[in-house]
Symmetry: C2
Subunit: 402 residues, 2 copies
């Protein structure tokens, strides 16, 4: 008799849904398809020779340690470097115990969800919100309270309404999760005024904030805005950062900043999750950052990505039908496009694949799955010519459906 | 007003206990202390030049891919290699969909716990059991049903008694977790007869088995015994394997073998946990394995570790007091010693540190914390001279307490 695994799965696992990005992207495995569906940096700018130099040096210099178990918190010299880097960005009041290395920021999200979320607990997220955060919270059976974004980020008046409603219902949200810079998928950035308001609301309503900032350093227009962590301090803010967009996702490294009592829980959770992040990639990152090569690479990205974004915006203007709109991000990797309401971007996806172009269906970013008219368009991984052609194909398809 | 984080922690996190290994090992940070407390391979045998060659080649050959996001399942060519390797060990009936890469086997344990364990669910584990598995299950709020080990591994008559008791209580255990080869901490290996009996019991009682086998390839005496997976097939067995002991823990790579419906849940769990394991270390591992260097390295370990183990056994015979006993493993990394019952190994730990020697307190490996007279002694990471001296110091301390 064969085992019936369904009888054994946890409630949590029974609720697991295969990611639709993943399912849909299985269709995108053809070189003819122009994929605007990714969320990857452009590998053509990876300084491979420098990475080889850093990895050879790391293995030569730290060999035994680089191939050995490391501490759960991460390699100390890398943590010091990251702490210094954050202090230069205006973060104060943190010391080494407040900074640990994570297996990229997805692990940060997963650990935060594990540390705070009981089944049925409420978390406040932006609408739309980053899919990986939705997955991490959903895997701990969170309920989602959503606050819509506009061009200036999370709408604070609506957040305040939500907080009042929750208070009336005697529900204490576990945290407010936000991607303040160059939002994934929406491309928008939270203004300084709203950041200050969010911190004020955190004090008024006794809230914890999870600030997820993978893209902040990839600003190619406008002025940097201080992070929530810099503005509000670590007492009410847990910050998640990653090397995946400012250097290389294949290293699987990020870092978490949190006050010590929260960090202690995160560390125990990380021990159970993977004991420690790869020592080898930590030493490579240390060498890469300390030689100034990270800054060099970020400078290249800041110079090259706007060419891609501009190509995308120009193509949207030229090819998308009247009634469409889109965000024009000052950094990051994504444009968020709204199509005329009669069109369902999820239903249209297979036709797009037939037309040799791919995007991510907007509904994937809505915890309540209440939107069918958006698409996430990635410009970082594609060259400008293919962006133009891809948007042209999409525009033609959209027009054919009007 | 400062945030009171205690009010926000999940039930799960409120139950997190800092690992005592971790807490105690903070005391071991002195070069004068001979640490028999580790669980690490001996870095002196790491073939650094070969790793440099593999990593340089991997970056040169697969550069953009090696630094980019990979699929959640892992790099296909590495999975094929591992599948072939397992088939040579006698595993049949698996294909590529049954094998994924994990961020070392701790992640395998964590995902298995997430996929199967609801708070309060029962899991069956050996007594003693691997601490990382206890942590992973405890972090999902499992209850532990324990089955004692003897020199032939898990005691099947006691397992059967436990299964009958659970059945009477209408409790269905989520799985039986076992480390059949060179058990951590106990050093013992499950006999072929017991493996067959375990599989028979799995059919009779409709059980899932989690086979955790980090050490199987590090056999330096006696004959290999087929794995549970080879004997029983994937229907009722999920197998966890890792590179951490057969090559380098610093890569953070392992692999999971499971039937497809279970694997689909594990994959969704892994997406939420860390999206994917490091592509860079996967390509390095592929190069290292495919060039035959893994086999070369395992051969070195198999030649060198028994010298260490023999030094430890000889020193135990010479220096430990009458009334002590220990296992004599045919492979792996650990000897498990029992001290005379009047002595509490946890209470003695700080004195051992004063005597400049460290071990892991036995109680850490007992989910019900019902044993105080064992210690785990690692021989892999220490050279024979220091092993002898460390056991000498421990023996003197034990004798002083009689």
């Amino acid at each position: 008799m064969s085992l019936n695994a369904e009888e054994l799965f946890s409630e949590r696992a029974l609720g697991f849904r295969p990611s639709e990005i993943r399912e849909l992207l299985k269709l995108v495995d053809s070189p003819e398809i122009i994929s605007l569906a990714g969320g990857m940096p452009d590998g053509r700018f990876f300084p491979i020779d420098r990475v080889i130099e850093a990895s050879t040096f790391a293995l030569r210099e730290y060999g035994k340690k680089a191939l050995q178990y490391g501490s759960t918190e991460g390699i100390k010299k890398l943590r010091v470097l990251l702490m210094d880097r954050m202090e230069k960005e205006g973060v104060s009041g943190i010391d080494l115990d407040n900074v640990i290395i994570s297996t990229a920021s997805q692990q940060g999200l997963s650990l935060v969800a594990q540390v705070f979320v009981n089944p049925g607990d409420t978390v406040i997220v932006e609408e739309p919100s980053y899919l990986g955060a939705i997955q991490a919270c959903a895997s701990m059976q969170a309920e989602f309270c959503t606050v819509p974004l506009d061009k200036d980020g999370m709408q604070m008046d609506i957040l305040e309404d939500r907080l009042k409603e929750l208070q009336k219902a005697h529900i204490r949200p576990k945290f407010v999760y936000t991607v303040p810079n160059f939002h994934n998928p929406a491309g928008v950035t939270m203004t300084l005024e709203r950041r200050k308001k969010l911190i004020e609301l955190a004090h008024t309503y006794d809230l914890l904030i999870i600030e997820d900032d993978p893209y902040g350093e990839i600003r190619f227009e406008g002025e940097s805005i201080p992070s929530l962590l810099a503005l509000g301090g670590k007492d009410r803010i847990v910050a998640l950062r990653t090397f995946s967009k400012i250097s290389f996702p294949g290293l699987r490294l990020g870092w978490i900043v949190a006050r010590e009592d929260i960090m202690n829980k995160i560390i125990v959770g990380k021990q159970a999750a993977d004991l420690c992040s790869p020592a080898l990639t930590q030493y490579i990152s240390y060498e890469f950052v300390s030689r100034g090569w990270l800054d060099d690479y970020v400078a290249v990205v800041r110079r090259e990505y706007p060419k891609k974004k501009n190509a995308m915006i120009a193509a949207l203007e030229q090819y998308f039908p009247a009634g469409s709109s889109w965000t024009d991000p000052q950094g990051g990797l994504f444009v968020w496009a709204k199509v005329p309401e009669a069109i369902d971007t999820a239903a249209m996806f297979r036709e797009a694949i037939s037309a040799k172009v791919a995007y991510v269906v907007g509904i994937a970013f809505y915890p309540h799955r209440n939107d069918n008219c958006h698409m996430r368009l990635n410009f970082s991984a594609v060259d400008p010519e293919h962006i133009t052609e891809g948007i042209h194909r999409l525009g033609d398809l959209l027009k054919s459906k009007m």
